[in-house]
Subunit: 258 residues, 2 copies
């Protein structure tokens, strides 16, 4: 049965609800701007702001890399200075790779996303700032932030691509906004009742008895317990119990096949 | 003071400890393989396995995109079939973008990373499988997995770049492995004692009194409470209290400047 994913509960909540802005300060490569736009839209963010992009604006490479998220790139707001891009924001976090000599509090991406989600629900405007590919944010820009967001990278190889850094925050935003993965078919397939499961086990043990499997006789209880525990652990559905009974029937059918 | 980040507690734990393998099944673009390798190393993963990469192997573009993580690309293990790549693994998760008609349990990236971390600590070998850029994993490959990992993407724009999907898992792995961001300077800067803080407040109120700021007299208590509460909320350090006392002193210095 085809399910319209837009109608799944909790799945239509991604876009067009208030969400934080992503502010790229002096980004260098158009490709990275496009990749940031794409991953923003993947997680329901649409408000992209650019401060003095190195190669000017608009940028064809950004649109090409956005790959379906062109509307995020085309809607990007251009500013000359960080202060201008942040002017309307009420809570700003700065993503930085390396520790700063700064007295700004440090949050994990998860904490920052939760803080921004709570503030966004109260009607506040939040923004996440990311710096240029090489240099990152200036100390001056970091000092504008209410919080520093630090991703727990490998200190021996900490240089995270700009779009990957944006991905981590955008993903945590989607989590904080309560966007859960779709339910598994396993959640809706009825688990077998114990009676149904016991029917399978009895069927199996009868056939094994016919084959003299349980031997010597005193080992029968432990052999049976092991089989029962292993199959119990699979958490079979009603349908799977029927399937496995068919399997046993097929395996034990001694009638000649042509 | 320069701190060697390798010596920060909890920060030297990323690489060369057992960690899950990342298995790319029939990846198409060398650039994506390189970007996956880079983000793996960013989060301490190094075991990359490739099943039948479309453009052959080795691939120059993969090495170029790995940008410092060339050793992950160069150490990648090549297989012809998924079963071969997974042969030594004991717990396998399959990352899929779209819901599957499958009775494999679905986990969030966080749950999968925690499950794999617990298993890795017990000495088990774990792997995460990702499919080709367009098609994703085949239903046959998904059925090999102990769990499906589903990222909570925007259903209206669910096509996550391969390296971004790997990024989400690798980031959750680093979190599950207990890699915390470095401490903030704020954690080590001693907060002012209440006596030090009161010294600042008294100094400020004295100077404000001198300027006849508290007016009319009956409003004095509420005006003072507002100022005290606002400055208290900043959670000032000892050093910042000294700085602010210097600021007040400078502002109120009436001696002629030349």
């Amino acid at each position: 049965m085809a399910v319209n994913p837009k109608l799944r509960p909790g799945r239509d909540a991604h876009v067009d609800r208030p969400a934080p802005a992503i502010v790229l300060v002096e980004p260098q490569l158009g490709e990275n701007i496009g990749a940031v736009a794409r991953v923003m839209l993947n997680f329901g963010l649409t408000d992209l702001r650019l401060v003095a992009p190195r190669d000017g604006w608009p940028n064809e490479k950004a649109i090409a890399m956005a790959s379906g998220a062109a509307r995020v790139v085309e809607g990007a707001k251009l500013s000359r200075a960080t202060a201008e891009a942040l002017a309307g924001a009420q809570f700003v976090a700065a993503m930085t790779a390396r520790p700063r000599e700064s007295l700004t509090p440090v949050m994990t991406p998860e904490e920052a996303a939760r803080e921004m989600h709570a503030r966004t629900l109260r009607g506040e405007v939040c923004a996440l700032m990311l710096g240029a590919e090489r240099a990152g944010l200036s100390n001056e820009d970091v000092a504008r932030a209410d919080a520093i967001v630090s991703i727990p990278v490998n200190p021996a190889f900490a240089s995270l691509n700009l779009a990957q850094a944006a991905c981590v925050f955008a993903y945590e935003w989607a989590k904080a906004a309560g966007c859960a993965p779709p339910p598994s078919d396993l959640d809706t397939a009825p688990p077998a009742t114990k009676a149904q499961f016991d029917g399978l086990i009895d069927h199996l043990f009868e056939e094994l008895d016919r084959q003299k499997y349980f031997f010597p006789e005193e080992k029968r209880p432990i052999q049976q317990r092991k089989i029962r525990a292993a199959l119990t652990r699979a958490g079979l559905t009603e349908g799977e119990v029927r399937t496995l009974r068919g399997v046993i029937k097929a395996l034990t059918d001694r009638r000649p096949k042509d």
